[in-house]
Symmetry: C2
Subunit: 415 residues, 2 copies
């Protein structure tokens, strides 16, 4: 990989070669970060060359990615998700300019497809035919789907509280699914043990430094879709910390390669019931504390985050904003995204937008700001909570008088 | 619309101007069909000009569409769904070449987005601010989502058997939802009455001839994605008849405008428990009979189809193949699509692929044929049936010995 210098430890600074199977730092156990030769990137790709490319997926950005080549042709089309200028929603939130990047429009309906697609290519490079991970759901189903398309086997460990839709999705992809009766922490630990024992390729996001490189493609797309004119803020929900770190890495890479001329600030949103990263970041310390996992937003209910260092640093470096939101605020954001932008988000997917609303209300961001809010997963992933947030429909017998009666009761039709 | 000649009745042949608010034939009540000036299209668009376009949605094909212009910019990105060459699945099905067109990757996760996006543009052209429809689910949620993005109101009538996920999705989009305790036929009738009474724009697919013109864009995309080299067959699930008619219209339009040089044959698949269109088509008659609605594939459980004429004619004209599949065959196709192609389909979404499998088994199509199978909706739409089809995961306490025991019992790990 001529564009990659190596993998550097985020704790001790030790640098090692970026072979496909690296996990944590061999010196200190810290999480690794892939480093690029930005001069190489600049010399091999311009904005204009990029815009002329016909490839419509995350692999469009090859020069920014830590891979030997595009990998197998047997890949799902990950990325190329839409971005919408959401003027009506912006007005409701009281902000000048709002874009919604709908990453629920991915093959397995979440942003995690970007990481899993990367895992599949790196596992192939490493010569592995089996990949494993632990996940609250989306990393799991995305791994299962992307691996199934490529013909790799998967072992997936999920906590038993994961919504049935997510479990069904990954069973359908033929994954070997292990439901663990315990917390996310318990699930992670047993998966790590099993991966070690059986020699599977490791798709645990914090352990495997390549996955964040897949996730960062959401930032590369946002930049290109906005003609490289960056917004003031990028808002994202935060659980394990890997996604916000990936978003930031993408922005920094673009800046270092002179594709953009300023860096947005991050708006890091966690659920009030589980916000260890925001709590530490707000206190400007890396010394985070474990928390309970009390939120409906299961994809970000991570009391013991695996990537707090990269996440907290990303918030710090970007001069970011932290904001925590209640489950009611998350459900309100789900309704607003649906009603005013036509985007159906799962709870964690709407949490970033809930954070934008609250940040405006608290005066943490300016009313004339421009914001890109990333929706990280599709609402169909968690129908039980969607039903909870959406309310009940009108129910009638097939009779016009019943319809008219119910309209009269409800003050409809409105139009 | 310089590319459109008018709307011709499929029954009596009467031709009327293609104004935005037309429904059925004013002479005989027959369903209308939009007719194009193919010379105009040929003179204004070439394959090569098309391939250079930057627009990535169904509106890329403007010259083939019955609209005054691209409409509001406040639109969801409909279309541009991926197509996959599925070699492993082809091998399993015993066929030479298989492509999966995954139209579950759409803003509200089904092919129906193509029709609803068209309805929104035509409603705006007609000056309406409220749209209504009846639907078993996907037409409804797609209308709700597309209308919400554009800022239009919706009234949506669904039979009470519709899966909760679909209902939650459209509630979340802010639709006025009316659950009707009755069959699809009852639901359709009461919606038609209400539309008439309140003057709403009518998005009922068979009544509104424009919707099929939206659906046909799936064929335009397939053709372009295959570099205009058409397969021997296009396979699709059939319910109301509008989708297969739209697929065929798209293919015929491309052929008439000389964008493709041969027409594929259609493989029309219905559920054995509800197959009025296939029953009539197989007997080479337009004289179809109502049937019960006995299938898990709720999106195509239509005992009284609203568009039998166009559908049966499409099958006839294409020298098509009809095949009916059991619920077990549908669930098997769901598993195969997931496991060997990484595509998670709802039951109706997998029915076309189930039809390909069965058509091969019955010798209805040649083993050296090439087939495009269209997946019409995402599996997350109907989690209950996905769980039914997928089976149960392994469940353990967070303990390595429990894991090893369960592996031993199940003969894993395999890799």
């Amino acid at each position: 990989m001529k564009n990659v210098l190596g993998a550097r430890c985020t704790l001790c600074g030790h640098m090692i070669p970026a072979t496909p199977d690296i996990t944590v730092c061999p010196e200190c156990g810290g999480i690794l970060d892939i480093e690029y030769d930005y001069d190489y990137i600049k010399n091999h790709l311009t904005k204009y060359e990029l815009m002329d490319r016909t490839e419509r997926s995350m692999w469009r950005y090859m020069e920014f990615l830590p891979v030997e080549g595009p990998g197998s042709t047997k890949k799902l089309r990950v990325g190329a998700s839409p971005i919408y200028k959401a003027d009506r929603l912006a007005e409701i939130l009281g902000i000048q300019t709002l874009y919604i990047k709908d990453d629920g429009i991915n093959p397995t309906s979440s942003l995690k497809d970007r990481a899993s697609a990367m895992a599949v290519v790196k596992a192939e490079e490493a010569g592995n035919t089996t990949i494993a991970c632990s996940s609250t759901g989306n990393a799991a189903s995305s791994l299962a789907g992307n691996a199934a398309c490529a013909g790799l086997s998967t072992y997936i460990f999920v906590p038993s509280r994961a919504p049935k839709g997510k479990v069904a999705q990954l069973m359908m992809f033929g994954a070997n699914v292990i439901l663990v009766e315990g917390s996310y922490e318990d699930t992670f630990r047993i998966s790590a043990e099993a991966i070690d024992r059986f020699g599977w390729y490791n798709r645990n996001a914090a352990i495997n430094p390549y996955l964040m490189e897949g996730k960062k493609t959401v930032s590369l797309e946002i930049a290109e879709q906005l003609n490289f004119k960056m917004p003031d803020y990028v808002a994202i929900s935060v659980g394990d910390g890997c996604t916000i770190a990936g978003v930031w890495k993408g922005l920094k890479d673009l800046y270092a390669a002179s594709f953009i001329d300023r860096l947005p600030r991050l708006i890091s949103t966690q659920a009030s019931g589980c916000c260890p990263i925001n709590t530490a970041a707000a206190a400007h310390t890396l010394d985070w504390k474990p928390q309970e996992e009390n939120t409906i937003a299961d994809s970000i209910a991570v009391g013991v985050p695996r990537n707090p260092v990269k996440a907290i640093r990303a918030i710090e470096e970007s001069n970011g904003v932290t904001v925590n939101v209640s489950d009611e605020e998350i459900m309100e954001a789900m309704r607003l995204l649906g009603r005013y932008a036509g985007v159906f988000a799962e709870p964690a997917g709407a949490t970033g937008t809930a954070g934008v609303k609250k940040a405006v209300e608290l005066g943490l961001i300016e009313k004339d700001a421009s914001v890109v809010s990333v929706v990280t997963g599709n609402g169909l992933k968690d129908v039980a909570n969607a039903i909870k947030a959406a309310g009940e429909p009108i129910s009638i017998k097939p009779d016009m008088n019943e319809l008219l009666d119910s309209f009269e009761r409800l003050g409809k039709p409105l139009a």
